[in-house]
């Protein structure tokens, strides 16, 4: 049997159970909505202006660096499981791959893109 069938059923159950629990809780609890109750919560102060505050663009740069790192690292996994069966320079190949990554990190760092401020 394809192991992914198991994974599929597992994930289905893992998301169906909380889903049903939510439905259950919805009908179990009281429901008396009032305008005050459903207001946006800001510790009692009335909310002011649009929710979509301009957010710090720095978050985007982290996401950018993350994407590149994530993609490269994922491709190291197939290398990691075979490199022992292959000649020695294959290990060096992976190390070279990591070195390219380190170069990218060093560039981004020196460019100041990792600074929070």
């Amino acid at each position: 049997m394809n192991p992914w069938i198991f994974v599929g059923v597992f994930l289905l159950v893992a998301s169906a159970v909380p889903g049903f629990a939510l439905l259950f809780a919805k009908y179990l609890g009281p429901r008396k909505p009032t305008p005050i109750k459903s207001e946006t919560y800001e510790c009692g102060v009335e909310t002011h202006g649009p929710t979509w505050v301009q957010f710090k663009a720095q978050y985007y740069v982290y996401a950018l660096v993350f994407v590149v790192f994530d993609v490269e690292l994922v491709f190291l996994f197939p290398w990691a499981i075979v490199y022992r069966r292959l000649p020695f320079f294959v290990a060096l190949e992976g190390a070279l791959f990591l070195l390219i990554l380190a170069g990218g990190l060093a560039y981004v760092w020196s460019k100041g893109a990792l600074e929070w401020a």
């Binding site: 609890g29 990691a80 070195l99």
Partner: protein, 415 residues
């Protein structure tokens, strides 16, 4: 002498016989029995949250010189059930302007993103959901649903603080995913497989924590940040963001985020046990699967305890410190470690196990020493720059952000 029977296997064969006696087709029975764990395991995983929440609350309370829950039942063990009753019967509030479907979807995703990992956890030699050949990557993939859940929760709440909390949370999660993935490469390198059960088996000759202690340490730090607990609880910093991304959630939906957090911490404990502490390995675990499960649980709880200990002890770090710790300390260190470990591992292939272990250990210590050396010189430079700036007040702009951070990182690591 009691027959060393496998409890689960005998139960399974009994069930199979029972179902066949009911007159069901054999093919259907074996498919159904194969999928039975897929239905039971997530339920068990969710149920695990009940004792875990009680245990952790008691632990943290003792660490902080409090008593913790002690009202409902002996030692407060029924506190969680009381909470469950309360949470089930609370009103289901949806704030105005919220994106209703996404608002309700986010907690479900958060739970699925944690419980999904349990599909590949190796509880004992033959007790596991499925031994995927891409197990480690599967763990990372399922984890991305947790990130998505937080982003959706923050976005759909129509609340500024929720949105800010979600941005912070996502920045933190993706930042710490890089060193996490890097350190997960180390067990894969050493075991030559991505299946979690294969990784456990590969530790028969020595736990990976002995071969790669530095990887284990980085894994622990990154895991703590991935779960988002103190000292990395910026995503729900009460004093700054009210409650972070889940501010508008109440009742059962909040309960799911809460449960997901506790389960996530324990699940990372279980992963740490499987990757670095030999999982279910132990005397007699091959013959008695129940012993293997016991070993695995004990080791998981041990790692989990370290997480709880950290949570109960440290104050929250600043956001720039948090970001810098990952990008400027953990990631470069992990990069160097993986590269060096790969070369060292390949070079010592075929040598006696002791030599092999010692070489790998030396590689770890070398990387650790080098990282600490660089960090020390950097924080010294930062201190000097700070001192000179205070001396000649306002003598030009000085970039502070990057230099202050390693000092924070240093103190985080030293402790």
């Amino acid at each position: 002498m009691i027959q060393p029977g496998d409890l689960i296997a005998s139960l399974g064969s009994w069930l199979r016989g029972f179902l066949l006696s009911l007159g069901l087709a054999p093919g259907l029975v074996s498919v159904g029995l194969g999928l039975l764990p897929a239905i039971l395991l997530p339920l068990i995983g969710l149920m695990m949250a009940i004792p875990l929440i009680w245990l952790e609350r008691k632990w943290v309370a003792r660490l902080q010189d409090r008593i913790g829950p002690n009202r409902v039942g002996p030692f407060g063990i029924f506190q969680v059930f009381a909470d469950m009753v309360k949470i089930f019967t609370k009103e289901d509030l949806i704030p105005q302007g919220a994106d209703k479907i996404i608002f309700s979807l986010a907690p479900v995703l958060a739970i699925a993103g944690v419980v999904g990992i349990w599909a590949v956890l190796p509880f004992a030699a033959d007790v596991y959901g499925v031994n995927l050949d891409v197990g480690v990557l599967y763990v990372i993939a399922v984890g991305t649903f947790g990130t998505l859940a937080i982003l959706l929760a923050g976005w759909s709440s129509n609340n500024k603080y929720a949105l800010l909390g979600a941005y912070r949370a996502v920045a933190q999660l993706i930042t710490y995913e890089v060193p996490m993935v890097l350190t997960l490469l180390v067990p894969v390198l050493l075991a030559g497989s991505m299946g979690l059960n294969d990784i456990v088996r590969a530790q028969d000759s020595g736990w990976f924590v002995l071969l790669a202690p530095l990887a284990a340490i980085i894994f622990m730090i990154a895991a703590q940040a991935e779960v988002g607990r103190a000292p990395f609880d910026l995503l729900e910093a009460e004093s700054e963001l009210v409650a972070g991304f889940n501010i508008e959630y109440s009742g059962m939906k909040f309960g799911f985020f809460y449960v997901a957090e506790f389960l996530h911490s324990f699940t990372f404990g279980a992963l740490g046990a499987a990757f670095f502490l030999g999982g279910w390995l132990g005397p007699g675990s091959e013959r008695f699967p129940i012993l293997g499960v016991l070993y695995f649980l004990i080791k998981s709880l041990a790692v989990y305890f370290v997480f709880v200990w950290t949570r109960g002890t440290f104050p929250r770090v600043r956001i720039d410190q948090m970001i810098n710790l990952s990008w400027k300390l953990l990631t470069p260190t992990a990069l160097g470690l993986v590269a060096l470990m790969a070369v060292a591992e390949r070079a010592t292939q075929g040598t006696p196990p002791l030599v092999h272990a010692l070489v790998l250990l030396a590689a770890n210590l070398f990387v650790l020493f080098f990282a600490l050396l660089v960090m020390r010189s950097m924080s010294r430079a930062a201190r000097e720059r700070l001192a000179s700036r205070q001396a000649g007040s306002g003598s030009g702009m000085v970039a502070v952000g990057g230099s202050r951070a390693p000092a924070g990182a240093a103190s985080a690591l030293r402790d």
